[in-house]
Amino acid sequence: MHIGILALQGAFFEHGQMLDKIGISHHEIRSVADFLKPLDGLIIPGGESTTIGKLLSDLQLMNPIREKIQNGLPVLGTCAGLILLAKQTLTNGYPSIGTLDVVVKRNAYGRQLGSFFTKAEIAGIGSFPMVFIRAPYIESVGESVQVLATVDDHIVMVKSLRQTGVAFHPELTEDDSIHRLFLNDCIEYEKSRS
């Protein structure tokens, strides 16, 4: 199994470290050529969603990524990655991938002084350490979307088929259960293709 990590901007290195610890090979995606290499799953990291969205368009990566996700490629989007996957984002009209049927609110907790750490339950995983950095939350979800975690009544983690969207940063903790959840989808996807 092999994972691609979108490395246009943000905390992509940290996701790579997490996969190294689990023992999964991966490569960074900065261009179409990188994305065309074989992969069984894609991670879209945290960073600035406006920056990553702009680069996705400029580097002609938006459409190929959208198509592959629609055709079943497993994807894990954290923070900015969740915003880029969302079908709709409150606050602005920057380009996004838009494959995940949720409405996301950017900077939902305000500026950096609103950034926080907490622990909360994730369905199927249990208590999980959550780091929110200028984070979004999910305002509403479509019918096909399963809510996996909430904090203070706001949705912070969802899953829809093989798409996992997370408002916080599992890559900044020692807990690899969210990555493993995503990797289960990747194993299934790998099997379905062979």
Binding site: A7, L8, Q9, G10, A11, F12, F13, E14, R30, S31, G46, G47, E48, T50, T51, K54, L55, D58, L59, C79, A80, T91, N92, R106, N107, G110, R111, Q112, L113, S115, F116, F117, P129, V131, I133, R134, H169, L172, T173, E174
Partner: protein, 291 residues
Amino acid sequence: MEKTRYELNKELAQMLKGGVIMDVTTPEQAKIAEASGACAVMALERIPADIRAAGGVSRMSDPGLIKAIQQAVSIPVMAKVRIGHFVEAQILEALEIDYIDESEVLSPADDIYHIDKTRFKVPFVCGAKNLGEALRRIAEGASMIRTKGEPGTGDIIQAVTHMRLIQSEIRRVVSLGEDELYEAAKQLQVPLDLLRLVQKQGKLPVVNFAAGGIATPADAALMMQLGAEGVFVGSGIFKSGNPAKRAQAIVKAVTNYNNPQILSEISENLGEAMIGINSEEIDLLMAKRGE
């Protein structure tokens, strides 16, 4: 595992990695920067090249301007305070600024003490020319470091010197024996525990950006290849012929800093770069402020 405010602040810097932080002086410029792919903006009244030209005392920007820029964009907004001027920092914290730059670009307010940054909830970035300066600023509570370079010149030589020096000093520390670290800490005038961290991780304990003199996509890519985790561009964008185009090109250059094919495409027809001044021809070396 509880996360402290300081860790959350270091982690915001991690989210900025691979990005370009642009100096802006108006809400309109801030919008251009955001639309061009900046991962944050630095709000200030005058860009370094104009501060240099105007002379006199240079201070924190008008809070009204900073607020207008905060309202104009959705990306993080940073602003500068004078070295040692902790009241300017208190004012910026009251504005809920996302990052404070305790900056040598402004006139220093204190020639001995930097701000005790551990007393603040908002994060600080500080400039450094070498490993000693970087670790002293981190000991004072900085959660991000940038090279000083020579601001407002469009001349990359100082940023290159500072980045190369920091990287080579880190390599030297990594090669030292446990028992040699005490002497190294003494020589560098830094806390031993921070030096141990550098030795263990082979890098600074916080994110390290390049700043000071970056004017072209090639400059930005050069700094990334030398080990910067992202770049600040000050005068280089809004002193150039076509700010939006140059800003977009520099953003792409930082992402694809190792891809000469893409770098050559984005470096085409950018219009005039800032004219710049040779850092040897200037009387005022801002990088010498605050060691």
